[in-house]
């Protein structure tokens, strides 16, 4: 369990997912009851419900799993996790699937991964999130005409001083960068 070892070359997708999820995620205990799929607020819009995705993982259908938009539609509300009768840590598994999908380039639509990547860019280079930067880059890349649709909202936010024009930078940014670099090094070598 946990983050200590990456499974060897013969490992199945299931093994990889379990090893890359912190703690004991209990994914193997799923009885396919459908509570997660029934609880999920964005379930109707997913390619596969969380339950269906776990069945695919069990069946070893790697490509289909990584291609699925399911983890990217997860809103991290944890309804599934608190209700699961087998106590599977579903939300944590969804995060793992996102990470694997990006690492293996398995997910075709770059919109959701790019959003996270853009968010992360500002955090890693300033220590804080930067909304205008995030929205600006994201809209330009993925939804250029969308900016017009929310123009009203944008001006509303700006006029009420709810959006900053410049990112805030933390004092010990170098310290943070060192921490994150070390952490990534540890993850790669695991």
């Amino acid at each position: 369990m946990s983050t200590t070892t990456t499974p060897g070359p013969g490992a199945t997708l299931f093994d990889r997912v379990v090893a890359a999820t912190p703690g004991d995620c209990r994914l193997g205990m799923c009885i396919q009851c459908g509570t997660c799929g029934g609880s999920c607020p964005s379930g109707p819009d997913m390619d596969h419900t969380p339950r269906a995705l776990f069945a695919l993982i069990n069946a070893g259908m790697r490509d289909e799993v990584l291609r699925s938009n399911t983890p990217w539609y997860c809103v991290s509300c944890y309804y599934c996790t608190v209700r699961c009768p087998q106590e599977v840590h579903i939300t944590d598994v969804m995060y793992t699937l996102k990470r694997i999908a990006v690492q293996e380039n398995g997910f075709d639509d770059s919109k959701a991964p790019d959003f996270s990547k853009t968010f992360i860019y500002w955090v890693e280079n300033h220590g804080r999130a930067f909304e205008l930067g995030l929205m600006g880059v994201h809209m330009l890349r993925h939804n250029p005409f969308g900016a017009f649709k929310i123009a009203g909202m944008g001006t509303g936010m700006l006029s009420r001083h709810r959006m900053a024009f410049k990112p805030t930078r933390i004092k010990q940014l170098n310290g943070l960068k060192a921490i994150l670099a070390k952490a990534k090094e540890l993850e790669a070598s695991a």
Binding site: G34, T35, C36, G37, T49, R83, P85, E87
Partner: protein
């Protein structure tokens, strides 16, 4: 130790259970070299008749006067081998068993280590057996009276079986009437028999049987004694009604002005009065006055029941009575509680008006229930046009109860049938699996499929009133993943029925303690063996039957009630019972009369002889636990068959053997 001790050692293979891990031939060969061992061999199945004959032959023909069998757990076969010794004329207490299966081959992976351990265990037993003494068992008579606790269908069945054989039964029931949960039901699966119609004849039989003393509105307070000789104190709570005068006319409850929600029999769906019989066919027919809700007891006013009673049977002064009875055996048939569905807020029970539990629904469809058998919404009037029935509420769920409650699938199918029959409503059945294993059960499922019920395979995620659009407005919405099509569905219905699971009674642990038996982690009473002995317990003379041992349906409960009765009758039939001779004995010459042992005995098995000022162990009560031996400051108590010499010899046998395996590195 006697002169010329000759120990026979037998190492069992137990097929491959032991021999697959332990080198039994080697152990037998090695054991031949132990002190006092006259013969040592290994054999495939010692418990077989041929295996036992080996022992008997060695005793009769080769002068073996001590026997050690290294095999399985004494729980299983100590009696077997002791009997073999006895048959050959050797006192059974000159036998010792070494458990090299449960304590060795089944728990040790490494074969070399397992063989070493087996040798140590055998050496321990051989060393010990040399110090063992011949002992004689105590025989105690069996009181033929029987106590049955719990007056539901299981308890009634058990009581009738025993009573019909001619023995007296005390049938104790906590509620005012017999019947238990079965009396609440409408129809029973798979036959759709009317529950009351099949139960009430048995209730009347039990109530009128000359050999059954019915003690309803009563509870067992204290249990002392041991198998064949229990002394039980029962509290008959005050009904405030004189049973010798009451004729069951019912005028008192008709005229009583105080209406109370009936949380027990009506499952909170209906009302009763402060003085009441829970249902019209109650046995006995005498009502009970509920003090907590009585205007007279709480406020000093009213007394209408006394005024209207034609026979003057109301007695506000009536006290509780304590009675003490002697019985030889006890059967616990205390039943179950329904899982509290309020613990699952997302199902809306208690918050959304038209969500009902299974017991509420049973009362609703029951013709004698609060709605006269009509299936209606919480407003008491509107008939639903669509009903959702939800399985596994609080069962198969690590957040609540891990286990399957066994009856809910069948019960849910039954509900689907009743809803269809009474209202013609659309029924949606939401399940994870359909569990219909017993006789005629799957055929019942086929019948319900045929009736056009919509089956949705998915555990319901939530039941809500938050409408997302006009088609959901005013409805109770069931949100579930239909896993067979892989899509989330929202099904707006008028009414939802939750098939709540079964759980152990709230006081199961206290009750178990009272009777000297244990409860599992889920608080069900623990049986002696889940497959081979489901109605006995580890406490001789106390039996369990029905749902209190684990969730089960009516056929299984009735079968267990009868099974427990049969076990009890076989004990009564034997007339006397053998008490294990491993009991403590006080050496009166050195006892100083400090009474420490009496205080420490968990079985209150030691008495103080006032005239001699010495402690004395009551053998029949003594369980041989050894607490008194350790407590005694003057070392005056000896535990037969577990003396200091025997235990020390056992330890030395084991330790010397293990030490001999250590290799010492010479630098």
């Amino acid at each position: 130790m006697i002169e010329n001790t000759r120990v026979g050692v037998y190492i069992c293979h137990c097929g491959s259970n032991i021999a697959g891990v332990v080198d039994v031939a080697e152990v037998a060969k090695w054991a031949a070299g132990l002190p006092h061992v006259a013969t040592s061999q290994d054999y495939k199945f010692m418990c077989s008749s041929l295996g036992q004959e080996l022992i008997e032959k060695d005793i009769k023909e080769h002068g073996v006067n001590r026997v050690v069998v290294a095999s399985c757990s004494p729980h299983l076969h100590e009696p077997t081998f002791r009997n073999a010794c006895a048959r050959a004329g050797l006192n059974p207490y000159l036998f010792e068993m070494a458990n090299i299966r449960e304590q060795d081959s089944w728990v040790t992976a490494d074969k070399a280590e397992a063989t070493k351990k087996a040798k140590a265990l055998v050496a321990a037993a051989v060393s010990r057996v040399a110090h063992q003494e011949a002992l004689n068992s105590l025989f105690v008579p069996i009181d033929p009276n029987v106590l049955v606790v719990g007056g539901g269908v299981t308890g009634i069945q058990a009581a009738l079986e025993v009573a019909n054989s001619g023995h007296k039964v005390y049938l104790v029931e906590r509620e005012p009437s017999l019947g238990g949960h079965m009396a609440q039901f409408d129809k029973t699966f798979p036959t759709l028999d009317c529950s009351a119609c099949i139960l009430t004849p048995k209730m009347f039989d039990a109530g009128n049987h000359k050999n059954i003393q019915l003690l309803t509105w009563s509870e067992v307070e204290k249990v002392d004694g041991y198998i064949g000789n229990f002394t039980v104190t029962i509290r008959k709570r005050a009904r405030y009604v004189d049973e010798s005068k009451c004729n069951g006319c019912g005028v008192c409850q008709e005229k009583c002005p105080k209406k109370v929600v009936d949380e027990v029999f009506e499952a909170g769906l209906g009302y009763r009065k402060a003085i009441y019989t829970p249902f019209p066919q109650a046995v006995p027919k005498f009502p009970v006055l509920d003090r907590e809700n009585c205007n007279f007891f709480q406020k000093g006013i009213c007394k209408v029941c006394q005024k209207v009673c034609p026979t003057g049977a109301i007695d506000y002064e009536q006290p509780d009575t304590l009675m003490t009875v002697k019985v030889g055996n006890i059967i616990l048939a205390t039943g179950y509680d329904l899982f509290d569905a309020r613990r699952i807020p997302q199902y809306g029970f208690g918050r959304l008006p038209n969500v009902f539990t299974s017991l509420e629904f049973e009362r609703m469809t029951n013709a004698a229930g609060p709605t006269g058998g009509k299936v209606v919404l919480r407003d008491g009037v509107t008939q639903p046009k669509s009903v959702a029935i939800i399985h596994c509420v609080g069962s198969r769920d690590r957040n609540y109860h891990n286990y399957c409650s066994a009856i809910c699938c069948m019960q849910s199918l039954k509900f689907a049938h009743l809803v269809g029959e009474k209202t013609g409503a659309d029924v949606y059945q939401c399940y994870i699996d359909i569990r219909t294993p017993a006789k005629a059960y799957d055929e019942f499922y086929q019948r319900i499929i045929n009736e056009g019920v919509h089956f949705v395979r998915g555990k319901v995620a939530e039941v809500t009133d938050a409408a997302r659009g006009p088609e959901e407005a005013g409805k109770t919405i069931v949100q579930v993943e239909d896993t067979l099509i892989g899509k989330q569905r929202r099904i707006p219905v008028d009414m939802v029925v939750l098939s709540a699971g079964l759980q152990a009674r709230a006081d199961a642990k206290e009750v178990g303690k009272k009777f000297g038996i244990s409860c599992s982690a889920d608080a069900w009473f623990i049986e002696k063996h889940p497959k081979l002995d489901p109605v006995a317990t580890m406490t001789d003379g106390v039996f369990v039957a029905g749902a209190c041992q684990g969730p089960k349906d009516i056929p299984a409960s009735v079968a267990q009630g009868a099974a427990a009765a049969a076990r009890v009758l076989s004990i009564i039939g034997q007339g006397q019972i053998e008490i294990e001779a491993a009991t403590a004995i006080v050496d009166e010459t050195s006892c100083v009369g400090c009474k420490e042992c009496i205080a420490s005995c968990p079985y209150t098995a030691i008495e103080f002889l006032e005239d001699l000022q010495k402690a004395h162990v009551i053998e029949a009560l003594c369980k041989g636990c050894g607490t008194c031996v350790g407590t005694c400051l003057s070392k005056s108590i000896r535990l037969r068959h577990f003396t200091d010499e025997q235990l020390v010899a056992e330890m030395i046998g084991a330790m010397q053997t293990m030490k001999s395996f250590e290799t010492v590195e010479v630098q």
